[in-house]
């Protein structure tokens, strides 16, 4: 690749371009503009996330207040109001699952939790905001042996089979791994 003058010219231009790339990169990393440009994008993402959390907290405030005070039937009613406008919203489905589990309606709770977490895995993440990881983990640990026994006793129990499938899904999500 050094046969003639054209080859040598191309090599010279190539080396000059490499120097130009190195100089531009060094100059860019030195200045504050480069850092600012990338920080801006991360900041924008943080702002969107914060806005989402604030919006959800605001939207479900009556539900979470009733849930925290232990008034589960009122929490369910308040949730129904919100879900009339946003029927499939993930956080609402997770909240419904949590409330139903507190009320002892485990099959319905597992269905809601599985549906909500399938839509948005953030609600079960270790570092996720508005995470219900502990609640879901406790539910899986306590209920899985019971449902396994139910299915073992009666293989035709379709409700138990469905709930066991939901439990295994939640167990898999709790275990982590690459999505």
């Amino acid at each position: 690749m050094f046969v003639d003058r054209y080859d040598r010219l191309l090599w010279a231009v190539f080396i000059l371009l490499l120097i130009a790339i190195a100089t531009t990169t060094a100059y860019s990393l030195q200045g504050s503009a480069y850092v600012t440009q990338h920080n801006d994008r991360n900041l924008a993402r943080k702002m969107i996330e914060r806005a989402r959390l604030d919006y959800l907290a605001d939207l479900y405030a009556p539900v979470t207040a009733a849930l925290e005070s232990g008034d589960y039937s009122h929490a369910l009613l308040a949730l129904g109001e919100v879900q009339r406008s946003f029927p499939d919203e993930a956080y609402g489905q997770v909240l419904k699952g949590v409330i139903l589990s507190k009320m002892g309606a485990i099959d319905a709770a597992l269905e809601s939790l599985a549906a909500g977490i399938k839509r948005d895995g953030n609600y079960i993440d270790r570092n996720g905001s508005l995470s219900y990881r502990e609640t879901v983990a406790a539910l899986v640990v306590n209920q899985l042996p019971l449902y396994a026994a139910r299915v073992a006793n009666d293989a035709g129990d379709t409700i138990a089979l469905t709930s066991k499938r939901h439990l295994h899904y939640l167990q898999s999500r709790l275990a982590g791994g690459c999505e």
Partner: protein, 354 residues
């Protein structure tokens, strides 16, 4: 120059129609000076498909399927649809990416370059100089034996790109849930779909029939001078766009305050320099690659795939220039693009002594 040549007048007609529709698509709703811009349309379309997260640049532009399918129909009617390809596939994908990097630094493809200029945007002058220099450098490379190989006839593969764009057009109408559409920014500005699609089909057909290509016009002008029909097509394009810009009150001559433009002259030049070299080496500007892919050329189809990847990358990595100027990553990307192009000229050169 044979002024009685029917093909010459067809090329001039095509150039004229490109100029008129380039201006009118802006009047009908596309962003200012971006009535036709292949690179902008690609960036919008990959954004709509979810390949980047710039929510100001997400719209499935019907002009793109129009260009390709218009070319396919025209090629079928003219019995010019031939499945062919096989020349250096991977470098062609890289070439497509480099084309989009160059366009992103200038903010627009060669068609938009001349639409900007004919609307009075003087910042485009550096781009014109860069593009002409780039085509000249590319021609020198070809003259010294740089070649990506000759295409061979293939079976069936020529339909892949037209079918892909047909699927995109279907997605535009069906609107599956994964498609994203901007509600603000330049991608929210668009002409009514039937005008966009209709213009795309007409222009695609005309471009296929006449081989209309901006860099091709410059190339032929440099080689053949005034005898090159494509050069006259390019001139007709500029004149008609200029006259229509005045007619619809969109002509605003000056350097400052131009839509979709920045004042970094060196980088305007460099961006189009890269586009010029790559286009000359692979045989056509971004529009020409779309048209060739529509007439069965799978080599051009690979360039189109590269352009789709490049369109996503320039947005996702923040390479693309804005009215604020060229970001550092963009400068590094365009220089890297030039270095890769020079390297490929060394690697793909057939030397007389070999």
């Amino acid at each position: 120059m044979n002024w009685r040549d029917r093909h010459l007048w067809l090329v001039i007609l095509a150039g004229g129609v490109f100029g008129v529709l380039g201006v009118m698509l802006s009047v009908w709703g596309n962003p200012a000076n971006s009535g036709i811009c292949v690179s902008c349309f690609l960036e919008n379309s990959v954004g709509a498909l979810g390949f980047h997260d710039n929510d100001r640049m997400q719209y499935l532009r019907p002009e793109l399927p129009g260009f390709v399918l218009g070319a396919t129909v025209s090629a079928l009617i003219g019995r010019e649809f031939v499945a062919r390809g096989g020349g250096a596939p991977l470098p062609r994908i890289v070439a497509g990416i480099l084309l989009m990097i160059g366009c992103a630094i200038f903010i627009g493809c060669p068609i938009k370059l001349f639409l900007r200029l004919s609307a009075g945007d003087l910042t485009a002058l550096a781009g014109v100089a860069g593009l002409i220099c780039g085509v000249w450098i590319g021609l020198q490379g070809l003259g010294h034996g740089v070649s990506f190989g000759q295409p061979l006839k293939e079976r069936g593969t020529g339909w892949i790109t037209p079918l892909f764009f047909l699927a995109l057009l279907a997605a535009f109408f069906v609107r599956p849930g994964f498609l994203l559409f901007s509600e603000r920014g330049s991608a929210s500005l668009h002409a009514p779909w039937f005008l966009s699609l209709g213009a795309g089909l007409v222009l695609g057909g005309l471009a296929q029939r006449t081989r209309f290509c901006i860099t091709g016009g410059i190339r032929d002008g440099l080689i053949l001078g005034r005898r090159a029909p494509l050069l006259w097509g390019g001139i007709a394009f500029i004149i008609s766009a200029f006259l229509f810009s005045i007619l619809v009150g969109r002509f605003n001559v000056g350097w400052l305050g131009q839509p979709g433009a920045h004042l970094e002259t060196v980088w305007n030049f460099t961006g189009m320099l890269l586009v010029g070299i790559v286009s000359a080496l692979i045989g056509g500007c971004p529009l020409r690659q779309l048209i060739k892919s529509g007439e069965g050329d799978t080599d051009a189809g690979l360039v189109v795939i590269g352009m789709l990847i490049g369109a996503a990358l320039v947005q996702a990595w923040g390479i693309t220039a804005t009215a604020a100027g060229v970001p550092s990553d963009g400068k590094i990307a365009v220089l890297t693009g030039l270095a890769l192009t020079v390297l490929s000229m060394l690697l793909f050169r057939e030397r007389e002594t070999e």
